[in-house]
Point group: C2
């Protein structure tokens, strides 16, 4: 009887097998772990590209000769003005720094650098044959300008603190920025003016950040496997995005532009819409690959190499439910710089919060326009207007949309907004260079 | 002086702006909230389809006449054997149930139903003109078989408990399955044999579960907005997947098969590979849309309509790092049924754990083969072998891959595995029906 009496327990526990609960994909469930979806995206991208690669190989065989590519680079270095300009500015840093005395350099170095940039730019716009080289060199110069501006600001603050301390020594006011330890026991702690060395400024110039700090947090060691993985990712995404850009340019953009000339002239809106959507998806994919390549692989690679500890180059912008959340989280180095060296200083002067935010967008819009207009030699304001249109969009999304709907609106603005601006520039460029000839 | 002494504090707090931390996308960060990526997938899908729709509309105008479609359905109902068979089995349930006495029905009903299915099947294979109708009808019959098997089992367990209770009444053994409350105060609690009613069996037959329970958890009310959203999703995904299936069939599969005839005959592996990868991506997308349509939209819609409380139709299979995790989480109703009515009963008889798991895979493989072979009238074992190959794959992935690598391997097996089996069937079908003619 003991044997049979245990059976009902087994059965009765089997009888109940349903619980009151929501499905995971319902927003009511509050579930948000979709790490697998990210892997899915990577797998899909690799597989689609493997197929394209295989198809291409089967059709044409191996065409690229790596020896030829390298020899092309080495033969005539002066035909590559962009790398020369970049190397030039980095080498010029040291003489510039030495030419001024230590205190003066802190205040005036950015100005002289900026003058240097300005003269270089004039040269740049004249001699540049390739547009992408122009964008690259201008980008490097802009980054350097922001870095040196930050360098000046922080050293000025430190000097201010030192002077105040000297004046109010009797009140024993201690400076927390110098007194605090930052967790890494290996690197010795530096305080102003001990930071004004060649080594220090060159470390900062190459470090993946725009904000200067006297004692950066340092990672304890260089992880070789991490370095290799990032290097592998860098090469892979560069190949994918490079091929994609090439494909998009010749397979999509040129026919799209040629086909969209007529609808644009006739103002045929449904056909313009169709053309734009056709451009949107591959353009967006390239942007996503670029993001991963630059902000994750490359910056982490450089940081690992330099033992730079702060790896927060982006936050979770993919979940952003408002436009402002997206803009303050997708590019943390620039966001941090704007906050520290532009937003907070003008706020401290008593400027209204909304005015200050608009000013940040204005400056950002100016730099976007600057990076596109100069190399293309076209002053069209499309990039500027694209950035400025984020303000009413941010108001609209924040006011009317919540949760997943807000997130979807941010994605749509990203996917649609970029190709509109790109199409405008390419359209105008095409009209100037090709329509006038025929 | 009080004014200037406060400035250094502001500056010194600005001086520190870096913290030792990892990037979010690094696996070391442990971050996993990618809800936004899911929204991105939906937005991309909708946008790509909107463009295709717009392009199609611009090219051909509106071609579909809804009146014509409905009239086609109503004109000759006997040319639609699949819906007739499905409605027939649901109507036959009641006479079958009545023909047997209450205790007998519990034991013998599944057998009689299965005989009924068997005779229907013979009829099915003869009269079916459409393959998809055959798959649909067979699917419904299989689901019904599993439901009634569960109905029999649970009622048998309840009878067992009741008998044991009667025998051991002096020991006051209480049955928790009948005594427990399940949280919903509205619906009255039912105990065996009070559950043997028409209403109860019909509720179970239409409820989105395969496991019978005397008192299902019930949701308190029908949320109309939830119902409408699921209905909208159902219609939308149905249109997208329908159009995609159509496009894939005529734009991809037919040319792919025609082009892959020669590589398959010549055993040209690199070209076979290229063909298969070409098929893999759209096939996988259709499967994903089908998953969302069936397991999220449709099942939630039915559950909301019937106030069925347990909405766990799937778990987070997208994060699965082993093959077994995927198979036990992507289809919870079938997984639950297998566990409750097959795995646990044979485990209780002292069967080894690994043997029992293999047996579950065998049965599952049999049903997969059965659902494909009968409507196509081709007994080829590709689906069976596809399922059985999961066992060595599961061993391999579990043994050698961890974390994101395991997850990527599961995704690759999903993306590649399905189209291989599909291509095999389509290839053989094509060889039988078209090669013999020419």
């Amino acid at each position: 009887l003991t044997d049979t009496s245990s059976i009902p327990d087994v059965f009765s526990s089997s009888c109940l097998c349903h619980v009151l609960q929501e499905s995971l994909l319902s927003s009511a469930s509050g579930y948000s772990n979709y790490r697998g979806i990210l892997n899915w995206c990577v797998v899909m991208l690799v597989l689609s590209n493997a197929r394209l690669f295989l198809e291409n190989l089967l059709k044409y065989g191996i065409l690229v000769d790596p020896v030829q590519v390298v020899s092309l680079f080495l033969k005539d270095p002066y035909s590559w003005p962009a790398p020369c300009l970049v190397i030039g500015i980095y080498l010029n840093l040291l003489p510039l720094w030495h030419a001024n005395c230590i205190i003066v350099v802190v205040v005036h170095l950015p100005k002289s650098i900026y003058l240097n940039i300005y003269t270089c730019l004039k040269y740049t716009t004249k001699c540049f044959s390739t547009k992408s080289g122009g964008v690259f060199a201008l980008g490097v110069y802009t980054i350097l300008f922001m870095k040196l501006y930050s360098y000046k600001d922080v050293n000025m603050w430190c000097r201010e603190i030192r002077h105040t301390k000297a004046r109010t020594l009797t009140r024993s006011h201690s400076c927390p920025s110098v007194a605090q330890s930052n967790g890494s026991a290996v690197h010795s702690h530096v305080s102003y003016p001990g930071n004004l060395t060649h080594r220090d400024i060159y470390y900062f110039v190459f470090a993946p950040t725009l904000c200067y700090e006297l004692n950066f947090p340092r990672s304890p060691r260089i992880r070789k496997s991490f370095l290799l993985r990032r290097l592998f990712e860098m090469v892979r995404s560069k190949i994918i995005s490079g091929k994609q850009s090439y494909v998009i340019l010749f397979q999509w953009i040129v026919p799209t532009i040629q086909n969209s000339m007529k609808p644009f002239q006739d103002m045929d809106f449904s056909r313009m819409m169709e053309r734009m959507l056709k451009l949107a998806v591959p353009n967006h994919l390239i942007w996503l690959i670029f993001f991963y390549w630059f902000f994750h692989s490359s910056m982490n690679f450089v940081a690992e190499l330099m033992q730079f500890g702060d790896r927060e180059f982006y936050r979770d912008w993919w979940n952003s439910e408002t436009v402002t959340y997206f803009w303050s989280n997708w590019n943390i180095p620039v966001h941090k710089w704007c906050l520290r060296h532009f937003y907070k200083p003008i706020m401290r002067r008593g400027v209204n919060k909304w005015v200050a935010q608009t000013a940040v967008f204005l400056v950002s819009a100016f730099f976007h326009e600057y990076l596109v207009s100069v190399p293309l030699k076209m002053f069209r304001l499309w990039a500027f207007m694209g950035m400025m249109s984020q303000i009413p969009l941010a108001w609209f999304v924040g006011r009317f949309l919540r949760g997943n709907h807000g997130n979807a609106a941010v994605w749509i603005s990203l996917i649609i907004g970029q190709p509109v601006a790109v199409l405008m520039y390419v359209h105008d460029y095409y009209v100037i260079h090709y329509m006038s000839q025929s």
